[in-house]
Amino acid sequence: MQDYFKIFGLKRQFDINPEKLDDAYFELQRQFHPDVFKNSKQNEAEAMQKSALYNLAYKTLQNPQKRAEYMIGDEKLEASPELLMEMMELRESGNVDDVKKEIAKLYKQFAKTEDKETFVRIKYLSRFIEESKN
């Protein structure tokens, strides 16, 4: 499978330039979107596969959590009991803004370390934010 960062000519690192991602994505879709092949003899099905792949890759890299998850890969995520306790306390304090601040801090850390544990924290706290929206 093609590396998503490579597809858009980006370095494989958490901090990306969103504008660069957009521009590369648009450029690829200009070449492979099915609309472009509508009136041509070239293989529309193959173009569609590519277009779909670029859409998926773009959506993955565009969103910080999905981008981090992609970088971690398929490894099984496990949370230590200590980490769970810590996260639970933060959640129980119930302050959405505090949690958001913590998440922002964790992303900064993840950009440096790209480690699994930081990601587990991010994932856990993000779920709390999602749930608090309901």
């Binding site: 879709q29 099915p34 277009s51 792949l53 859409n55």
Partner: protein
């Protein structure tokens, strides 16, 4: 004289055969337009979307496209829509003096798979090849963006006779990228008229006249409906991870945006005066015409659209596993792996649904088919890969494949009309309102599924491997407790018993490990196998 040289096979077709029109198939009115060199124009007059059958006038047939098999005056909504499209085709042929066989047809962004397929079927019946179905607000953005040469993030607020759409788009260097979309396929001017008729005691047509002539103050009557559209705008902004002040302008599309209260509330919410410098009735057809030209002659512009509603599969106990989330750009392709739930299970029902809710019954059922011929294996061993492909029209194809044997089954999703019309429109709103109870129900079902899976594999292994009678008895007693709890709804109890059973079965796993499949099972408990 200069000769034009083309690559073999790439010779453009003669222009005579290249006529492709854009059609706005509306709830109240329909239009056809054509574009040359990105200069679109309406062909002929606006056509009321009314068909007379057996002397009876059929109005607003578009609102019935979510149930395309339910007949009206002996004809299906698809057939009736085809009548309207036929008239538009003839109108275009008369004006252009040649045959028209190809069209781009617009649909509300919030149309689901069923409504889109039905629209495409109607076009085929009317003798039109659909080059592309495009979303109404996206078409409007294309026409507006090109006409006014604007760039940046815009909202298209599209309130027609029967449907409401909001799309948040980014326009940048000829790319029209939809960031998020939302809507209600049963909210429009028709509903305003019905409310006004209720308070004035006159019929709907008289009410419409009163509304259009601004004969009375009916703000109170329609306030809840307009408020509803604002709520949908709010949700779409949140999906796009934007706030109202990120929006550079709000383009007003659809006849119902002429209602002063609509303009007032839209301005209040977005904090900017809505853009009304285009004809709200024509802009969708004009955009469709531009896209029709682009698809036949090429273009420097590109539309990147999204799917409006999530697509998923039914898993155990009526839970929906989402495979593609709403607002994913199209075309797209996603894979998801599933496994068998019972020992020696040879078939698997694949039920495809669309909607935002957690339980199958609350989503629209799109298709159901069976993957057969899975070779007998213990529960959880088969690897069934299900692929969803959504094309550029927003239409879905699903295929299923058992990875171990390569058995494959593919279907093009055809609607199975599992939902009543009123249910479809409410899907996202309900999913917000019911998220918490849904989540509880889902967690409970998941716990039950887990427990049942454990019980199932346990039974198989208990038969195969000998335990001491003391071990056996203590396991059986927990099994009985767990089976009893599975009839109830106490999630914590089920989880506790499952956990306990899991610990007890460590010995069993040990024995299995010493047995035939040692390598595979090392270090695992029974429920991880």
């Amino acid at each position: 004289m200069l000769l034009q040289i083309h690559e073999p096979g790439e010779t453009p077709l003669p222009h005579e055969e290249e006529v492709a029109v854009g059609i706005d198939l509306g709830t109240t009115n329909s239009l056809v337009a054509i574009s040359r060199e990105e200069k679109p124009q309406i062909i002929g007059d606006i056509l009321p979307s009314v068909v007379t059958i057996n002397g009876k006038e059929i109005h607003s047939i578009k609102r019935r496209m979510n149930n395309p098999v339910e007949k009206v005056e002996g004809q299906t909504p698809v057939e009736i829509s085809a009548e309207i499209l036929k008239i538009l085709r003839l109108q275009a042929e008369d004006a252009l003096g040649k045959e028209v066989k190809k069209a781009v047809i617009t649909v509300p962004a919030y149309f689901d798979d069923t409504q889109r397929s039905a629209t495409k079927d109607a076009a085929r019946l009317a003798g039109l090849e659909v080059l592309r179905l495009i979303n109404e607000p996206t078409a409007a953005a294309l026409a507006y963006g090109l006409d006014k040469s604007v760039e940046g993030i815009y909202a298209i607020y599209d309130l027609g006779g029967g449907t409401f759409d909001i799309s948040i788009l980014r326009m940048k260097k000829g790319v029209f990228q939809v960031l998020a979309t939302g809507g209600d396929t049963h909210l429009g001017g028709d509903d305003f008229d019905a409310e006004i008729a209720k308070i004035t005691g006159c019929n709907v047509l008289e009410a419409r006249k009163k509304k259009e002539n601004a004969e009375l103050d009916f703000d109170d009557a329609i306030m809840p409906l307009v408020q509803k559209t604002i709520e949908i705008c709010k949700a779409a902004l949140s999906d796009a991870e934007l706030s109202a002040n990120d929006i550079k302008g709000v383009v007003m599309v659809g006849g119902s945006t002429r209602v002063p209260l609509v303009q007032k509330l839209v301005e209040g919410f977005f904090g900017t005066k809505p853009l009304t410098d285009i004809n709200p009735d024509e802009v969708v057809a004009l955009g469709a015409a531009i896209q029709a030209e682009a698809l036949t002659h090429g273009s420097n512009n590109l539309l990147l659209d999204v799917i409006p509603l999530s697509l998923g599969l039914e898993t155990m106990h009526d839970i929906v596993e989402k495979v593609i989330y709403r607002n994913t750009p199209i075309p797209c392709s996603y894979e998801q792996e599933f496994t068998t739930y019972e020992n020696d299970q040879t078939g698997m029902i694949i039920h495809v649904v669309q909607g935002e809710r957690e339980m199958v019954a609350d989503c629209r059922s799109l298709a159901k088919f069976e993957l057969t011929g899975i070779p007998p294996m213990p529960a959880g061993v088969a690897r069934i890969k299900i692929t969803f492909n959504v094309d550029a029209d927003g239409l879905l194809t699903v295929s299923a494949r058992e990875e171990k044997t390569g058995i494959e089954q593919k279907i093009e999703v055809k609607p199975s009309y599992g939902l009543q019309p009123e249910q479809v429109e409410k899907m996202i709103r309900d999913s917000m309102e019911n998220a918490r109870t849904d989540m509880e129900a889902r967690l409970l079902q998941e716990s039950k599924t887990e427990a049942e899976r454990l019980l199932n594999s346990l039974k198989l292994y208990l038969e195969r491997y000998n335990l001491t009678s003391a071990e056996h008895e203590s396991i059986i007693s927990i099994v009985k407790d767990l089976e009893r709890e599975l009839q109830g709804s106490d999630r914590a109890k089920i989880d506790d018993l499952r956990e306990e059973l899991n610990h007890k079965t460590e010995t069993l796993a040990q024995k299995i490990m010493d047995g035939e499949i040692k390598k595979v099972l090392e270090g695992k408990k029974v429920d991880e196998i």
